[in-house]
């Protein structure tokens, strides 16, 4: 099948937000439910219009909470969709699942949602231990966190491609500058400079605390539909001009940096081909940024610069407010809030809809209204990836 046949056939018609940051006293499920309800309303739909409900993977319950399933969320929303599902691990199947349901005509409106009470529940993203016994053999070596697995590849990139904390601080600071323009961002009122970045303690060297995304309470949802149907709904349709999906499922410590078959490289190639575009056509990037280095790695895999060029290419002047390629304009996960891929994707949609207040591109001094925004979603440790190229439809 020619990928271009799928270009501009599907759209995002609504976005759902909830209170976020530190919101104590609520279950994780409540954030899924509220975000989904708000996305349905934002799209101008009734809950009976929803015929597919797709949940991101939910981590183990924290803070005495119970697990979240698609049954739970559907029940509380009072919907009986054609299909409900939930990722188990972070395989990032939601996008192609939704597209398939819409393309076949089996479904007309698909809600994709994530929520968590990670901050109030003090989620640590450390592999759980039961009875003192590690759940996998990595813990035998003391390798307990997701952070360490990303840091391992970042260290190799330092060795092979001369990157390092001087590059990652530019990402952390530029995104913080964006967050300083976004009242709902967790770091809205916290300014970050070089000294602030370097004075943050090491967690797993070479990563400092500010290379990692903090946890947040809250939820986020989007509604996907066909482009045709989106044109009849209240919001301007945000067309999916290109999308791609790929996996690199090996254990993270077996992955190599700058692999031309990395999930990000393969997924973005599909998206660019579908859209008939190259990185030169992209005005803004909203990228999954669990760690600073993830942003660097994704931009490199997408072809914005070549391996070894990050030190010159990644500057706050380029990717921060007023720069020629704005990246993560909400503050991203690093400085706004962590809702998996829905943090970057929702921001891309909101920018194209023109709903971003002080940080709105085209309104903010020194910026122009974007025509084309590229978004990413990443799962596991660089093990699964979705790329989306979004444009505002007429």
């Amino acid at each position: 099948m020619k990928l271009s046949k799928l270009s501009n056939r599907f759209a995002i018609a609504g976005v759902g937000y909830t209170p976020q940051g530190k919101v104590p006293g609520r279950s994780a499920a409540s954030f899924y439910v509220e975000a989904a309800a708000n996305a349905i309303k934002d799209a101008g739909l009734k809950k009976t219009d929803i015929d597919a409900l797709i949940l991101y993977r939910h981590f183990d319950p924290v803070g005495g909470d119970v697990d979240v399933s698609a049954f739970t969320v559907a029940e509380q929303l009072g919907v009986r969709p054609f299909t409900i599902s939930q990722e188990t691990y972070c395989t990032r199947t939601w996008l192609t699942h939704a597209i398939g349901l819409l393309a076949t005509g089996l479904c007309r409106n698909v809600v994709v949602v994530y929520g968590d009470n990670a901050r109030s529940g003090r989620r640590t993203f450390v592999k759980e231990l039961s009875n003192g016994s590690a759940t996998d053999d990595l813990a035998a070596y003391g390798d307990l966190s997701t952070l360490a697995k990303y840091a391992m590849l970042a260290q190799r990139a330092m060795y092979e491609y001369n990157t390092g904390p001087e590059v990652w601080k530019e990402i952390a600071i530029a995104q913080r500058q964006w967050a300083n323009l976004n009242p709902i961002a967790g770091m809205y009122s916290k300014v970050l400079d070089d000294e602030g970045y370097f004075s943050a303690e090491y967690v797993a060297e070479p990563f400092r605390l500010l290379d990692a995304t903090p946890t947040s309470d809250g939820g986020r949802a989007i509604v996907l539909t066909t482009a045709e149907r989106a044109r009849d709904l209240p919001n301007p349709p945000i067309l999916i001009t290109g999308f791609g999906q790929a996996s690199a499922p090996e254990s993270p410590f077996r992955l190599k940096v700058n692999d031309e078959k990395s999930a990000a490289a393969v997924a973005s190639k599909q998206a660019f081909e579908m859209a008939g575009m190259t990185p030169k056509d992209i005005d803004v990037c909203e990228l999954y940024d669990c760690f600073t280095y993830t942003v660097e790695s994704t931009l490199c895999d997408y072809g914005f610069f070549k391996p070894g060029e990050s030190r010159d290419w990644i500057t706050r002047e380029r990717i921060g407010p007023g720069g020629s390629l704005p990246v993560n304009t909400s503050g991203g996960m690093l400085s706004e809030a962590y809702f998996m891929g829905l943090t970057p994707i929702a921001e891309g949609v909101m920018q194209l809809m023109g709903r971003c207040g002080d940080r709105q591109l085209g309104t903010l001094k020194g910026t122009v209204m974007p025509k084309t925004i590229m978004c990413s979603d990443n799962g596991g440790v660089f093990q699964s990836h979705c790329s989306l190229i979004l444009q505002r439809g007429g």
């Binding site: 450390v126 231990l129 003192g132 590690a134 053999d137 035998a140 003391g142 360490a148 797993a204 190599k256």
Partner: protein, 136 residues
């Protein structure tokens, strides 16, 4: 070295851990294509053959990358901080995770040649032995 936590040994990987207790680094070698694999599996990820033999590896390789844990992700690790976890590309064999012994973290670097080392106090306690590597 001694493991930080007792690994949950899946049935397929038992010969690997048995090898560790004898201070031998053993992996499945595909009888059809020669591919040496880890993690343990019933089929070869290179050719899907089900024929294999567990064979000892020479234990030499190249350090691909490493990290220095500066924060304990579990209370029981606080006394170990800082410690190093490394990724080793074994010669002709699989890539494995392992600790590094005998070097300060500042001396460790990507691309270093390494070889496997085992603790001397084999069998002295109930903990599982795991491979560590030292820079050559």
């Amino acid at each position: 070295m001694k493991s930080f936590f007792t690994p949950r040994v899946v049935a397929d990987a038992k010969p690997f851990w048995q090898g560790c207790s004898e201070h031998k680094l053993k992996f499945q070698n595909c009888s059809a294509c020669g591919h040496i694999r880890w993690p343990a599996s019933v089929v070869c990820p290179n050719c899907l053959s089900e024929e294999y033999e567990w064979k000892e590896h020479g234990g030499e390789g190249t350090l691909y990358s490493f990290i220095v844990f500066r924060r304990a992700f579990h209370p029981s690790l606080e006394a170990e901080i800082p410690y190093v976890v490394a990724v080793i590309d074994l010669d002709g064999g699989p890539t494995i995770l392992a600790g590094i012994s005998g070097s300060k973290s500042e001396e460790i670097h990507c691309g270093a040649r390494v070889r496997v080392v085992w603790d001397d106090d084999q069998g002295k306690d109930e903990q599982v032995d795991i491979p560590a590597f030292e820079m050559v």
